[in-house]
Symmetry: C2
Subunit: 415 residues, 2 copies
């Protein structure tokens, strides 16, 4: 795909030594890609004037239509982004009157909230009102204003690094880009399958790519996701995409071909049917409940559940019989089924979903190694139990188990 190109620079030493993970690059690139702008670089750089200046020069030399720089607009000694922009564009820094009034206003609020004298604070924050000559100040969502400035053919936007502030400041910039004709509609088709590898989708995808489709595939936690993009008006491409989707549906265990995730589908189905779900979790410790409630309005169908980490909790809250725990062990299909039935009965839910396993790295035995997980789903149709063996560390085993539980629930709902 041709069309407008963008690059992102994410500034912050904390992003290069493991202290912190960048949220802004994924947020901004997703937003731009959804509007037909190809992001060709996300560059994460430390608060280092020389590195930052060299990187800005390199990216501007590629003449992207849009360059967004995030972070390093704060008041501390290591906030050097504006100095680097000024050096790159060879512009002096001048106090911007509009930016100054915004900074004063924000400083007053912080001064009150944090009980720091206004004048003392302003002496530090006024730095944020000094912008490279020729900038247009953008209203702040926190303390620091952003700014827009032309750099040859490139629209350069400089924003603070706080994700909440970026999310608030981004929509007006997107509207500007739309007004200037840089954004376009992109048709996207997403197909998701569960329980296969990328390699099984590959022949169909290679064929589609050879026919000129922009097709991409990723695999995660047992799910394979295929994404195809095309121009909305391109009827030939649209027809070829339909054929690919039909071929994938015929070949693979596809559970979604309209873009929805397994979380979305489970939520929609439960809401449509007026049904409810409750969870009983051991090795995931609440992670399945956390995921089921990540979507807004999940109280429409999620009743609650039990985190039964200790055996006593399994007996006390889920009425799993003591004898069953002794005979089969807490990590067993029998207990997974009893946990699912127990929580379904206690909370009078349509479905009860249970997870019990050895997340590791310790706690495993030869017979029941780390990674062994039993899933249970109890429904009006009866109780289904699944044994799975997941690879990887504690975090990965728990993540795969949660995704597997969502699919088990999905199967129970549709069957």
């Amino acid at each position: 795909m041709s069309g407008p190109r963008a690059a992102l620079v994410i500034v912050g030493s904390e992003l290069l030594d493991g202290r912190w993970r960048d949220d802004n690059g994924p947020f901004l690139s997703a937003s731009l890609a959804a509007h037909g702008v190809r992001v060709a670089h996300i560059l994460v750089v430390p608060d280092d004037l020389d590195v930052l200046t060299a990187d800005l020069r390199f990216l501007l030399a590629g003449e992207p239509d849009v360059l967004v720089v995030c972070g390093g607009l704060g008041t501390t000694h290591d906030d050097l982004t504006t100095a680097a922009v000024a050096a790159t564009l060879d512009r002096p820094l001048c106090e911007d009157l509009q930016a100054r009034s915004w900074v004063e206003e924000a400083t007053r609020r912080v001064s009150e909230r944090r009980h720091v004298p206004f004048d003392e604070l302003l002496a530090r924050t006024l730095k944020e009102a000094r912008l490279p000559e020729g900038s247009r100040a953008l209203p702040p969502a926190g303390l620091a204003p952003g700014y827009a400035i032309a750099a040859g053919p490139t629209r350069l936007y400089v924003l603070p690094g706080v994700p909440g502030e970026i999310e608030a400041m981004w929509p007006p910039i997107l509207a500007e880009l739309a007004r200037d004709g840089l954004l376009s509609d992109v048709a996207v088709r997403t197909v998701r399958a569960y329980g296969v590898g990328e390699i099984q989708a590959q022949p169909l995808l290679d064929e589609a790519a050879a026919d000129g489709l922009d097709v991409a595939v990723t695999a995660s936690a047992g799910e394979v996701t295929v994404v195809v993009k095309y121009e909305p008006g391109d009827e030939r491409a649209a027809a070829r995409v339909e054929r690919l989707v039909a071929d994938l549906e015929a070949t693979l265990p596809v559970f979604s071909s309209d873009g929805r995730s397994i979380d979305d589908i489970v939520a929609d189905r439960l809401r449509e049917r007026g049904e409810t779900v409750a969870v009983a979790e051991s090795c995931t410790g609440g992670g399945l409940g956390g995921r089921l409630t990540a979507l807004p309005r999940s109280s429409d169908y999620f009743l609650g559940g039990v985190i039964a980490y200790a055996n006593e909790a399994k007996m006390e809250l889920l009425e799993v019989p003591h004898g069953m725990l002794g005979q089969y062990g807490a990590v067993s299909g029998e207990v997974a089924g009893a946990m699912a039935e127990g929580v379904r009965a206690t909370l009078r839910a349509t479905y009860g979903v249970a997870i019990t396993g050895v997340a590791g790295p310790g706690g495993g035995t030869a017979e029941k190694p780390a990674g062994l997980v039993y899933l249970g789903c109890s429904s009006p149709q009866g109780t289904v139990v699944e044994e799975r063996r997941f690879a990887g560390g504690r975090h990965q085993v728990r993540r795969w188990a949660i995704v597997a539980a969502l699919h088990l629930l999905h199967d129970a709902i549709v069957s």
Copy 2:
């Protein structure tokens, strides 16, 4: 700090359109930084031969000591990393015998697991045994081998993009770098405070930076984290760091000055004292339990809990009186306290911790807006309740509430 420099290139179009988030950049940069190697760039680029080649040239022109490239070593049409490396270094691709035998072995395993004929699969995977001339193949952790190759003064390592494979392939590379004298010890001091803003730490940090300390600060979910790095032998720096730590402890509500997170500290304290905790969660849906069980061996102190999303669950599983829910509402200090007491009693835990609130974006009222959260902690010393108002969206409110609950628990343990 001078010393060796590194750059990372993370390849994958899925990382630039919101489909996927990079885990490899944070993992590798944290590992390198912990061994005294300064990572000056993490560059995320699409599977695009021209972009990739231009970016490799740019980074190599800076002559870093180490350049690690991750991703794009697979078998599909869009895996172009090796072609880009070959073009950048102007080397032909040749089949490597060692790589070929590894690829054959891995292909046999996949062929069996995925029920795809070996020959058909090998025809696709053999691409992964063709390396730029002069490469040294590195044993694969999955299908694709990695390779090392000299690029002028730079050690270039090319690895697959699957995080689990990177984690397995990285330690021998780190050992190589150590053997070549590129790694060094770094002394790190980390101080964490809860309930203040960065701005309150700033004067002390500015002073320390002016004295030449390498000091950095981040803020997240109500916690401010200060990290100072110095050379282990530098006694002057070590003394200045001690003074900074003492000043911070005297000025701010510091809860950790030895590097441990609040999760670590809570876990250690409970284990030391032989005490236990149980949780009762409403708006966080299991997220607090999920976080308390993220650490290995959490069964030493975590008993389980109740996810009481619906009012019925609060009554049924926690014995919160119906009248209390009617009089004060589910989101109230009274109910938070009753939930904490209920789960503590039911699971016979030393501490019961509860969260009830309006995560939003919907469900709020003028009196009880989205972001209003009540926390409760019940202990042998009695029950404490806290009212908080968090800003931001659903995800952020839930995250802040979980951190606040951990700190409330911490206060109860130490008091």
